[in-house]
């Protein structure tokens, strides 16, 4: 079963077609998981990220090239050592409820995110912020305990909302964004209408409706019957079929998402790096990308969470090329002998690709006498097994999907470090922690490059998790949709969307 990897039938692009855009219209955006609540700083599911740039603004925002661009902050300066940042905010901006947005408001939002009691995901990205000061209405100063040259990117996801009224955020979606909330039915629909008082360029659409389909087939049906204009996260093997009749297939320019198997590096057998390596060699990544992702993915035999197309990708990493004999040998060395059983822990009901690649591994392991017991569980049970950090799950491969920002963003590498939250419970060697600290605190330069290389080498050698491939969410838009673009971790940016004139 070897040969050239299949080429995907339809190649995706990161941007929707260009062209004149009409004013008005309602865009229906479909996805298969629901928006459970609206608080932009304590996100409950990936589905919610669609709203981040519609209802809200941060001080900065992503540009398609993965750089942080001005948003509510018009400009910023930093001290030479990157420990003090001054953001100059726009004036005259208001929340949807009419309350003016000022630096004092921004301070409240930052402080809320940094509050250890608030489960804000973005907190870890800005945990070096030690003091937030509003110098005047338009000047916000962030002081850091560690230097962070990437701070503007790190704060993209700190969205500005009326903290004083945060208890009602699900009712009013109060932000400063181009659209405001009209109706919200948890897990079903979020209806947005144009914010006529938007401080920026006037949005094209009258309304954006985000709807949720219970299963991918129903969603596809809706796409085919034209009920929905944009469908997010379509299954890879259905992408090509859906992207016909002029429909556009979209994905990130440089995907930074990965299909991985998380391992508990504190319990046997995977407390032994040799066992982890053995597993890495046993993974037929090419076949898995073909069968599970219809060719819309890149195998990552270097076993690092870096897209091989990224400029910081270390080309010289030894590849864990599929080699069952070697895997068998390494397994034996680590005490995983013929007749052993491992567990493949995956989700039921969604992400069927994980099971597909699990079955490939199952077949291959069977050839070297190891039984792979595939167990599926619905999402909550699935996550409870290995999440949050610190759980023990011996002998288990927890299939998962990780999204990061691309290098040189430090997040993907920092996640494995001691202060990171990788559920692999890996205690990184000092050298690795050192490298991460350097990456976090250095601007562009050879120092940064070396640290990035070092971290990748250690990951490749230690294999705290198995990285099967780099893939990205695929989205499909109807032919007449314009102005969309897809961010590296998959979010579809709708803020400038409209219909072809």
């Amino acid at each position: 079963d070897s040969g050239a990897p299949t080429e995907p039938a339809v190649s995706p692009t990161a941007q929707a077609e260009q062209g004149p855009v009409a004013e008005g219209g309602t865009l229906v955006f479909g996805q298969t998981s629901g928006v459970a609540q609206l608080d932009p700083n304590t996100i409950a599911s990936a589905a919610q990220t669609q709203l981040q740039t519609l209802l809200w603004n941060g001080l900065t925002t992503w540009a398609p090239d993965n750089t942080a661009q001005p948003d509510l902050a018009e400009s910023w300066q930093h001290s030479p050592d990157f420990t003090s940042w001054t953001f100059n905010l726009r004036s005259g901006v208001q929340y949807h409820n009419g309350k003016p947005f000022t630096a004092a408001e921004a301070k409240k939002n930052f402080e809320r995110v940094l509050d250890p009691e608030v489960p804000a995901q973005v907190a870890t990205k800005i945990d070096m912020v030690s003091r937030v000061t509003a110098e005047n209405d338009t000047t916000l100063v962030l002081e850091l305990e560690r230097p962070n040259p990437q701070l503007p990117a790190a704060i993209v996801d700190v969205k500005m909302s009326d903290v004083d009224d945060i208890a009602n955020v699900d009712r009013n979606g109060n932000g400063t964004g181009p659209y405001e909330l009209r109706a919200f039915v948890p897990d079903q629909t979020v209806e947005l209408v144009r914010n006529e008082d938007y401080w920026g360029e006037r949005p094209h659409l009258d309304e954006v409706t985000i709807v949720r389909y219970a299963d991918a087939t129903a969603a596809q049906t809706a796409m085919r019957s034209g009920e929905v204009d944009v469908l997010a996260a379509v299954a890879p093997d259905s992408a090509a079929g859906l992207a016909t009749e002029g429909r556009q297939l979209l994905t990130a320019e440089e995907p930074a998402s990965y299909v991985v198997w998380e391992l508990d590096t504190t319990s046997p057998p995977f407390d032994n790096p040799v066992a982890r390596q053995a597993l890495s060699y046993a993974a037929d990544r090419e076949s898995m990308m073909d069968a599970g992702y219809a060719g819309y993915g890149i195998a990552t035999p270097a076993n690092v969470v870096v897209n091989p197309n990224n400029e910081h990708y270390e080309q010289g990493l030894p590849a864990h090329q599929f080699d069952l004999d070697k895997a068998k040998e390494l397994f034996a060395e680590a005490g995983v002998t013929e007749g052993s059983t491992l567990t493949f822990w995956t989700k039921s009901g969604s992400d069927p690709e994980w099971t597909t690649i699990g079955e490939i591994l199952q077949q291959d392991l069977a050839k070297i006498g190891i039984t792979l017991d595939i167990q599926t569980a619905e999402t909550s049970t699935w996550s409870a097994k290995f999440y949050p950090q610190g759980k023990r799950y011996p002998g288990t491969l927890a299939a998962n999907y990780l999204s990061f920002t691309p290098l040189p963003g430090s997040y993907s590498l920092a996640w494995f470090a001691d202060q990171g939250t990788c559920e692999c419970n890996w205690s990184a060697p000092a050298e690795y922690n050192q490298a991460v600290a350097t990456i976090e605190s250095s601007a562009e330069g050879p120092e940064l490059d070396t640290a990035i290389t070092t971290a990748q080498r250690i990951l490749n050698r230690e294999s705290p998790i198995i990285v099967v491939g780099s893939t990205a969410f695929l989205s499909v838009a109807q032919q007449n949709v314009r102005g969309l673009w897809v961010q590296a971790e998959g979010t579809v940016h709708l803020e400038e969307a409209g219909f072809a004139a």
């Binding site: 079963d1 040969g3 299949t6 299963d215 991918a216 087939t217 596809q220 085919r224 299954a235 093997d237 259905s238 079929g241 859906l242 076949s287 073909d290 069968a291 989700k347 039921s348 009901g349 069927p352 099971t355 597909t356 699990g358 079955e359 490939i360 199952q362 077949q363 017991d373 595939i374 167990q375 599926t376 569980a377 619905e378 909550s380 049970t381």
Partner: protein, 281 residues
Amino acid sequence: MTSSTSSTAPASAGPLLSRPAAVASLAVLGFLVLLAVLAPIVLASPTEIHPRDAFAAPSPAHPFGTDELGRDLLSRVAYGGRISLGVAAGATVIAMTLGVAWGLAAATPRWHGEVLMRLADAALAVPIVLFALVFVAALGSDLVAMTVVAGLLMAPLTARIARSAVLAELASEYVHALRAVGVRRVRVLFGEVLPNAAPALLAQASLNLATALMLEATLSFVGLGVQPPDASWGTLLDAGYRRLYESLWYPLLPALLIIAAIGALNVFGDQLRRVLHRGGA
């Protein structure tokens, strides 16, 4: 009197086999069972993967095409029948045993009958999907769990049907007469009423078999399926349904077999009931 011999005993196979519908349904069921039994002898391996041949269209080598890993769909479905039919049969046995005992116990006019019935009602009042999900999460997924869960889920309804069938019989005049004759209550229940309620119960059993197949599909949908690489009709239907637009063949075969099996079961149950009914007016 010249009146001579008369009707045959109700349960013999003769009258059943003289009904074309019964024969046809038996033939379908027989074929499905045979397919499941003979699968290992005549068909390709259901687990051998050829990722490059994924979603192949029907061909002589794969009469119904292949799945996402290039496995032969026909043999996967044939093997799936072993699991699905086994689960359905097991679940029905559980549901009937439990349900009929429950229903009979609940048919007593005393307080514990009432309590038992309310218990069944309480169980029925909670939507089946919820219980299914809860069981899924609590028990994890495997064949035995699925059989037991499906059986348990069907038991309360069976109990209610059994009870109402029994109560309807208990209300008839002949029970009155039997009580006058001095037949013990238990005897009336088991010897007279239950056999009389048999058509209703048989119909329920065939319904249960059908429901079990359906439940199997539904449970697979929420994740309590058999574990890969094995597959039941339900998991195959689920997998195929998710890839409906990639390969129409994929869901078609399991769907057809499920429908054929449930249909044949219903028809057979119906015919059986009618034959038994010959004994009554």
